[in-house]
Amino acid sequence: MNIPAYIIIAILLLSASAGAVCAYLYWKKFRNGIDVIINLLKKGQMPHSRNSDCDFIKTLSDTIRESFNENVSRIETLQRQTKELDIHIKLLGKQKNSIEDIIYSIHDVVIVSDSFDRLSMANKAAGKLFNFDVEKSKLMLMTDVLTGPGKRLVELINQSKQSKIPHVKREFTFANEQKEGIFECLISCMFASDGEVSGIIAVLHDVTKEKEISQMKNEFVSHVSHELKTPLASINAYAEMLADGEAQDEATVKEFCSVIQSQAQRLNRLIEDILNISRIESGLVKVSKDVISLAVLIKEAVEMIKSYAAEKDITVNYDSPIIFDQVSADRDMMTQVVVNLLSNAIKYTPNGGKVSIGTEVNESEKIVRITVTDTGVGIPEEEVQLVFNKFYRVKANNKCAKGTGLGLNLVKQIVETVHNGKVFVKSKVGHGSTFGFEVPLCSSLEHSCSN
């Protein structure tokens, strides 16, 4: 417990005046002794004239010296003590302020009520959340300070005061027109020496973000399980049909086998994509960056998807430009980015369409910009910005092709998280889409770039 400042000041004043009285009394005694000596001298009775006188004066002066010295040291002690007390008071004041500052600045909401249900302390976060003036509301009734959504908190505080349970943890939902949030509310009782509750401390910790994250995690798990179960359902059903002899001719047996194979591959791609995204997100992915030319990499990627494009009679245009387009990148990851964009473009472009790749170097901004433009189905305006989200699939285009909703998210993660770049998209329903990304260019003067 802190000793209140006024008690310290009172003690200090009392001790100082006691010191002064003592000093005065000793001074009086000292003066008396001096007077005796002066009188003796005036009478012409010299100290050495008579032995008895001499002895008397000697004893007297010794007494005076002693009491004088004693007084000096007492005064010095008192002065020292006064100084120490002064320092102590200042120190306590500072400590009090600093503790108040700490509580005031804590991010969590802190509200303390006294035994008369008045507000004895509240911090900045409390004032902000419950919309009251922290200084002006001191010693006001809690019911007057905490209104609206705060009423529930007053109820919780009263419950704790009555039950005398030292600590109670609750979930507190705050909602008004301006803001809403979920808080973890810890209400603790302060007890006086007689065991009565002398005050209540309520600490509210904002867990809105955590709740959102856990909600997102649940949705993710539910979505992943749905995505995994879909190919699994096919594999399971076709395998059972084969085992039960339901494939009645050679061609059907072949068809069933190829479905099982393709669905198993789909399952594997899905698992790979999920793992890759999660590795990148958690920073566990192994990145090995080299200085590479994007033009060369794109050429290789075009070769890879050539047969897929040919199946749909889609032409892929890429005139590899003669420009300096060296970037510091992980070759495998960057290839995956380009392949994902190209196969998406082919996937969502009707037969006979066109896909073109553009490379642009912006020397002043020191970036390389790659674009993949198709003559496909396009994306509705309101959904364009959502296509990079995990598992997001454009509803209207669901029919065109199967997908996991992970491919573009992986592109975004690789470009933005791993390569410090940026992805972008432009689209018009019925006309086609342009997906692209930009990554920092290696300076043409340097042969190695910093990662």
Partner: protein, 126 residues
């Protein structure tokens, strides 16, 4: 007369496998690739039973059943719902929509066939 069954799923592989299983066992099968198409086909073809996926574009299986139940002619068609979602649909909703059975994916075509035959038998018995 063979019984007519409408199968609704956005996964063509599932449509195909269910169709083969049912056809091999003497049923007539018609298919639809989403809830909207399923609803329209149901109205036009008046099947004896509908097997539908739960999650589909355009119109979900549940939305499709809701619409079918509002229509006098399709009100009583028994429905089996296939779902890959982990969550369970509340019994109340199941009763309200008069969904005969829920089967979770991955499912066994054999089991699906048994359920279909069982439900159709019960319907005839009534």
């Amino acid at each position: 007369m063979s019984r007519k069954i409408l199968v609704v799923d956005d996964e063509i592989h599932i449509l195909r496998v269910v169709a083969i299983k049912l056809k091999n066992n003497g049923f007539e099968v018609i298919t639809a690739e989403d809830g909207k198409q399923g609803f329209e086909t149901a109205l036009a073809e008046m099947p004896d039973m509908i097997i539908s996926d739960y999650q589909m574009p355009n119109m979900t299986g549940i939305e499709m059943v809701e619409k079918l139940r509002q229509n006098e002619t399709t009100k009583c068609i028994p429905v089996i719902m296939l779902t890959a979602r982990g969550f369970a649909i509340e019994d109340q909703q199941k009763q309200n929509l008069n969904i005969a059975e829920f089967l979770s994916k991955p499912f066994s075509p054999k089991e699906l066939l048994n359920t279909v035959e069982e439900i159709l038998q019960n319907c005839t018995a009534k």
